[in-house]
Symmetry: C2
């Protein structure tokens, strides 16, 4: 277990006041469910110590400003915008996936109803564009256009993930393409928006974006391993959760597309009618591990981590910030295995 | 019945190719439900002659460019963006309202499921910002910032409308404030975005926006009358539909907030458990008409129409375009009563 990088807390202190101020501008009816989602209040409006997520995206945004020699504060509007887009997607994805819990609390739709969750997500999505366009810097225009493109990719990735449910098998390439859109695009945006707002040269912006996109794939590969073999007390999800939901995550895709007896048995398990039993989930996990799905996914995570680190090396970024970017990447890729 | 203004068809021919090109950029999984929503294809992808809506918003956008002496084509990116935002809101509102039909066809959620409807709406919402920010003119920045503000108001209005369901009564002022947000803001945007993109002076932009906002309230007042007394064969909805759904539309708000015996009886009817009978719906309609709710709403529509016409009078706009704006406003406000 790698120690929590200091930049997460530093970015939270810097960004959260502006994020809270943005959310407070929402209409009365939308403010409570939005503030609940961020972990600032309970569903009845009373204070909560639930806390928000790790704040990976604001931390990346802050580091991307510092990496090009700008003040961290330059990144704040971009950090707020990307956090708002990420949270809009969580609120809507929880509806789509039927997930009733997030960070050990009922999801917005479970607490307030699907109707409220639809409109709260819409409001957060729109607020992201509004906040970023209010920044006085001329670079806000490029930052906003890039946000629109990254969000389009994120939505396309979610749609592709949903479509996987109807396919008998997907291969690793399809899986990576989906996850590059669903997770990589917005992390690439996060890791470059501070540099964009600072007016950095395109080469540095592109390198930081590549770092974030690769980090996104490493993050997702780790997530996919934890989704099958993670400790429920740490992940907050049931053991083998992704198998129970018949997700075509990377370990599954590796085995299904690899052919042979393991692929056939796994495909049969996934084609079973009704809920999978605990025994079937355990058998699927064993099959996937024995056929190399786990090791292959861990190796993919390492490759993507290396690619992320290589992207920001030797291109004239602030060396102390490059160290922080590397530390953050290792923290993300070394979770619990 | 006023003849259909020529500008609706003129704007459709001008704007629809760009709108279709924008929608075609969506990911494979999102393109079919989006194109279905626009009435271009059936749910199985075969060609449809269902047709889109009237295209009021693109027509307003086009007229607003012409009103300030610019070429109609200047308005196209704004017209596409506002149509995309309007349609995203329809797709999501149909989920929220549980409406299974729109323009005599199943709504997107009814045809493709709630999950697809959530994400298709998100994609259209985001595409609006993406398209507008790709316009090369420097005025795209102001046009996009204004779109974000108008859309925030639209979402707040929808949230306020949803909250009305839980209130025993609302008054006309609350009803107008809600409808100014829900309908007026985006129509005000539509009626000014062409002028914004043409770089027109603020005074003309503001006047055109005021025209659109007032037109929105006139439109909504007419809609509220038709929602109770409209001919089902014309409106495509059951007679007394808004009463059956216990909506607190303008005629209802006028009576409920007016006090007296009619208010008490109407409040009792709305507080009835279970579905209202045909007899109860008919009684409510009679009560509202006798207590002045119908006449009051028709009068409100006339006032708002007059205000819309006054807003664009005598401020140096192209006189032939002002005539077209007036014709379009009368067409909207004179529907079927």
């Amino acid at each position: 277990m790698v120690a929590t990088p200091a930049v997460l807390e530093r970015a939270r202190v810097l960004v959260e006041p502006s994020l809270a101020a943005a959310v407070d501008r929402l209409a009365d009816e939308l403010r409570l469910p939005a503030r609940y989602h961020f972990g600032w209040v309970e569903a009845d409006g009373s204070p909560s110590d639930a806390g928000a997520g790790k704040g990976l995206r604001p931390a990346l945004a802050v580091l991307s400003a510092e990496a090009v020699g700008a003040d961290a504060s330059v990144a704040v509007p971009g950090a707020v915008a990307v956090q708002l887009v990420h949270d809009f997607s969580l609120v809507h994805d929880d509806i789509i996936d039927g997930d009733v819990e997030r960070r050990h609390r009922p999801t917005v739709w479970a607490a307030f109803g699907v109707d409220d969750a639809v409109i709260v997500g819409d409001a957060l999505h729109n607020l992201a564009f509004q906040v970023l366009l209010e920044d006085p810097s001329p670079e806000r225009v490029a930052a906003t256009a890039r946000l629109a493109r990254a969000t389009t990719a994120m939505i396309a990735g979610q749609a592709s993930d949903m479509a996987f449910d109807d396919l008998p098998a997907v291969d690793l390439a399809a899986c990576l393409a989906m996850e590059a859109d669903k997770t990589g695009a917005l992390l690439g945006y996060s890791a470059s928006v501070g540099a964009v707002l600072a007016g950095a040269p395109a080469g540095q912006v592109d390198a930081l974006e590549a770092y974030g996109a690769e980090l996104g794939l490493a993050f997702q590969a780790v997530d996919d391993v934890l989704g099958i073999w993670g400790d429920p007390s740490v992940t907050g999800k049931a053991a083998g959760n992704d198998l129970r939901e018949r997700k075509k995550s990377m370990p599954v895709a590796l085995v299904l597309s690899g052919g042979g007896a393991a692929a056939a048995e796994l495909a049969d398990l996934y084609a079973t009618d009704g809920d999978l039993s605990d025994g079937q989930v355990e058998r699927a996990a064993t099959l996937i591990a024995e056929a190399g799905g786990r090791d292959g996914t861990v190796a993919e995570a390492r490759r993507r981590l290396d690619a992320a680190l290589a992207a920001v090396d030797g291109i004239g970024l602030e060396s102390s910030t490059v160290d922080e970017l590397a530390g953050l990447a290792r923290f993300v890729a070394d979770r619990d295995f």
